[in-house]
Each structure stands twice: as structure tokens, then as C-alpha cells.
Point group: C2
Chain length 249, copies 2
DNA sequence: CGATTCATTGATCTCGATCAACAGACGTGG
DNA sequence: CCACGTCTGTTGATCGAGATCAATGAATCG
């Protein structure tokens, strides 16, 4: 199902079968989008939200000179702009990084859910607050880590998130991003990201080639990036989930 | 009333009289707290949330070496840790910066509200997403602005927020913060904040003395910090006229 | 093929960190 | 009352991480 990965294995708030069915029924359309397309622009009025099914998307702010700061990276299973439901218009742009499959949920459906299903409403609310928790980790990253730590932290976070979505085995994963993208995430220049990546490789922590990350020493990498996955609210971050485990009936 | 400033003048989501009364009735206790006290610690289970009535509070993350990154500043009227309601435990500490008056809202009351008042629920949800929007502006600040721009942006933001709470006239306001606090907000050292403050004073943009900010040239300050108040979702930004503003009818 | 994107490397510069010292305000206790 | 911490703000000297500027290589694609 399209919503299978949404709030998968999140502490205490995974969806009941009925809730998942209701959310699935709220989807009006699905579509595929090519890489590097803008889905929503800052300021636009929105009456629908986007659930990411496949691919990678981002949210970002551009400065006066065109320099870009990414404020979020979204992976399959993320409800990319669910916050547009209460906010109604966004303070940032939303776009695809890679080719993506998205499902559209009209806000009138969410109106119905909030009227009828308070428990599911709290879970949707939770999902938006999870994004806020990730924002805070990113603030820590930008405010208190050096360049190497920032990239290490980002790779650790993405590894855990992809693992929880069943898209990383914990040792390597594909991220359709370039070094320039990582620079816009970590508040660095692409030149310096290149040097950081080389450093991480030479130190035996991880490699990053052709958009693929390979974790060589997870413990050291997490230490270098001061990464603690608690803020991701994943059920059991210690042990990797079983490959493609289906939610029990 | 204790909740008078909550969601005051926010676009489309200010509380109706009945909603405000319901929220007011949800308050179990109020109390005063001295400056620099911890209200909640990362990881703790919470069954209540804190509405800030008077004073300034913050949320922050500490790194391995004790360096601190503030991830939010809260002003009177803010529902400081409303996100603890869906999340149940926090990923950061919460504390007072100045002496503060707080009102406590037990989560059982919020349970009742979410069962009975979907519209008010959406407004509470909105309030937590407003904090997330501020997180994103802070990410931009840390990722893409230099030291002077960061401090300028922070002062602009705080001015607008305090103004909307009726606590700034737009030209000057009292912020019980030290230069060291500003450093922990802006990802800088206190020594450098001191130099940035001197620079801003010498350039005639603003002053910062004894925790008091005086805006000398609001337009220039906003330009220096690339500040655009749209992300604060305030009804009628009686904010300084920006060169390229008014995106909406 | 050229054109474009992405990765890589070198040289240089600069912003902000770091280290160190000191001054004023304030409260405390002797 | 003064002596003595502590907290806050201030300034100077030096250092270094990361930006900037510039060039090149490799891969992909029309």
C-alpha cells in the first residue's frame, strides 16, 4: 500500500489497520515526478498535501544571492508537507531531488479525519512534530558541529531513517544526492564537502560515491557527528528491523 | 486572562471566545519560576505542557563538551512544549531564561479538546507548526548568514514576535538575555557576539545593552539579516517596511 | 563530438575561534 | 565598611577551519 511506510515503527504511534485504511482512502491521486522539480512554492495557498512513496524530496530556503539552505530531506514514507494542512501556505519551497512517486491527500479529507478520528489526528500531528524534532537536530548540527561532524551526522541520520523505511541495511544505502546537495544541507561549500568526504574515507568512517553511502565504522561515525538517534522516535533503534517485515494483522 | 497572548493576531487561526475559554479552563495550575531553571529534561515522560505567561524561556541541546545550542526562544503567549502532547517525551531540555510565570495544561485536558473540538485542535496543531517554521528560519540563519547577519536576523525576529505579543513598540524591547545567550542562539562565541554588537551599533543599525535592544534602522537591520517576517504568520505585520514585501492580497 | 554536470585539487584569504587579560557591577560575608 | 567572588562585557593577539578563486578531469548525453 502507498502508506505502508508512513509512521512505520514509530514509538507508540504506528497506525492501526483501520487508520491506515482510512488514510489510504484519503489519497485522491498518485503521480510520478521527475528529479529536480518544484512541487510547491513558498507563499502559495495549498489545499492538499503530499505523501512521498518513492524517491527523495527536499524543502529549502533560498537567500538573496541564490544560495540555498535545505531545511529538510524527505524519504519514502514521509508526509512531506502535511504541515501545510494547518498552515495553509508554506514558508519554503518543496521539490524533488530524485525521480519520485507521490500520493496526494486533499485537505478536505483531513478535515473529515480530524472530525471523526481524534486518535489518528494525534498521529498525524505527531508526524509533523517528528519533522520539527529533525529540524532541531539540524540546528544542533549547523550551530555546534564542524564540517566533518556535520556530514557525519547527516549520514548517520539518513542511514537510520532509511533503515526504518526498509531502504538501508545499516551498512550502505543509495541517496540520489550530489556533493553540492550535501553542501546545501550542511551549510558548507561543495569544495569543502569534497574535502570532508575524502577525510571521512581516509579515516575509514564512510565513503560517498555516486550518491551511494557506505558506512565503514558506524560507531566512530556516530561519535564524530555526536549522533544519537533518540530524536527520530524509532521503536528499537539498536537492532535493525527484519528485512521487509510486514505489520502483523 | 492567562491565554490572552496565545495565537494572538495569527493569520486565520486566532481563537474564538469559546475556544479561549475552553483552553483557559484546561489550565490546572500556574506558578512562578526563577531564572535559569530547568522545566523539563530531554527524554523525560511528560503528561502536561507549559504555557508561558510572563518571562522568557528556551529550548536547547547540549553537545558532548557542554557547548549549548538553543533551538528555540519562547516569549509570553507561547505554548512552550505543546509538542510534548503528541510526542510524550522531548528530544531537548526546556528552561527559563528570566523569571517566568507559567500555566500548566495537563494532557488529559488536551485529550478532551481533541475529542470534542476539532477546530481548536487544528489551531493547537498550528501553534506547534509555527514553532517548526521558526526552526526553519533559524536553520537558514545558521546555514547561510554570517555572524552579523545572524544577530541582525535574531533581533528582527524577536522584535516582531514581541510586538505581536504587545511587548515591543517596534523600536525597542527588553530581552533578559546576555551576549552569551545570543551566542548560544546564533552559533557563535560570546567574544564574537560582543564584536558583532559593537559593529551593529557603530553602523547605526541597533544597540544591545543590559538585555535591551534598540532598533535604530529597522529597514537596514532587516536587510542585513535577510529578514522577512512571513514565516511568523502574523496577521498584519506592523513590521518595518521591507523593500520587497507584500506577497499577498 | 562539444556541452554540461559532477568530482577533485591547489593557492590564497578571511571570518570567527581561541587564548588571555582586564574592568565594571553586584552580591556576599567578615 | 571593605574584601572578595562571580557574572557580564570588553579588547587585543594569534590561529585555523572553511570560503573563495581557479583550473582540470571524468562521465554522460544531446
Amino acid at each position: 500500500m502507498l502508506t505502508d511506510r508512513f509512521l512505520k515503527d514509530r514509538r507508540g504511534v504506528s497506525l492501526e489497520a483501520g487508520e491506515r485504511a482510512r488514510l489510504e482512502a484519503a489519497i485522491s491521486t498518485t503521480s510520478t515526478v521527475e528529479a529536480r522539480k518544484i512541487i510547491a512554492r513558498a507563499g502559495e495557498w495549498l489545499d492538499q498535501s503530499t505523501l512521498l512513496v518513492e524517491g527523495i524530496m527536499s524543502r529549502y530556503l533560498d537567500d538573496r544571492d541564490g544560495l540555498r539552505q535545505l531545511v529538510a530531506i524527505h524519504l519514502p514514507g514521509d508526509f512531506v508537507d502535511l504541515h501545510a494542512y494547518p498552515l495553509k501556505h508554506l514558508d519554503h519551497d518543496v521539490g524533488t531531488m530524485t525521480p519520485a512517486t507521490i500520493a496526494i491527500v486533499p485537505h478536505v479529507e483531513l478535515d473529515a479525519i480530524t472530525e471523526e478520528m481524534p486518535e489518528l489526528t494525534r498521529k498525524l500531528w505527531f508526524a509533523t512534530l517528528l519533522d520539527a524534532a529533525i529540524h532541531r537536530a539540524w540546528l544542533f548540527r549547523l550551530g555546534r558541529l564542524d564540517a566533518i561532524g556535520r556530514v557525519a551526522h547527516f549520514f548517520c541520520e539518513t542511514n537510520v531513517r532509511l533503515q526504518s523505511a526498509g531502504l538501508s541495511d545499516g551498512r550502505q544505502f543509495t541517496l540520489g544526492l550530489t556533493q553540492a546537495d550535501v553542501a546545501e544541507i550542511c551549510g558548507l561549500t561543495t569544495v569543502h564537502v569534497n574535502r570532508v568526504v575524502r577525510h571521512l574515507r581516509e579515516e575509514g568512517l564512510c565513503t560517498f560515491r555516486n550518491g551511494k553511502v557506505e558506512i565503514l565504522d558506524a560507531a566512530k561515525l556516530a561519535r564524530r557527528g555526536q549522533f544519537d538517534p533518540a530524536y527520530l522516535y524509532i521503536d528499537d533503534p539498536a537492532s535493525p528491523p527484519l528485512p521487509d517485515q510486514r505489520p502483523r494483522r
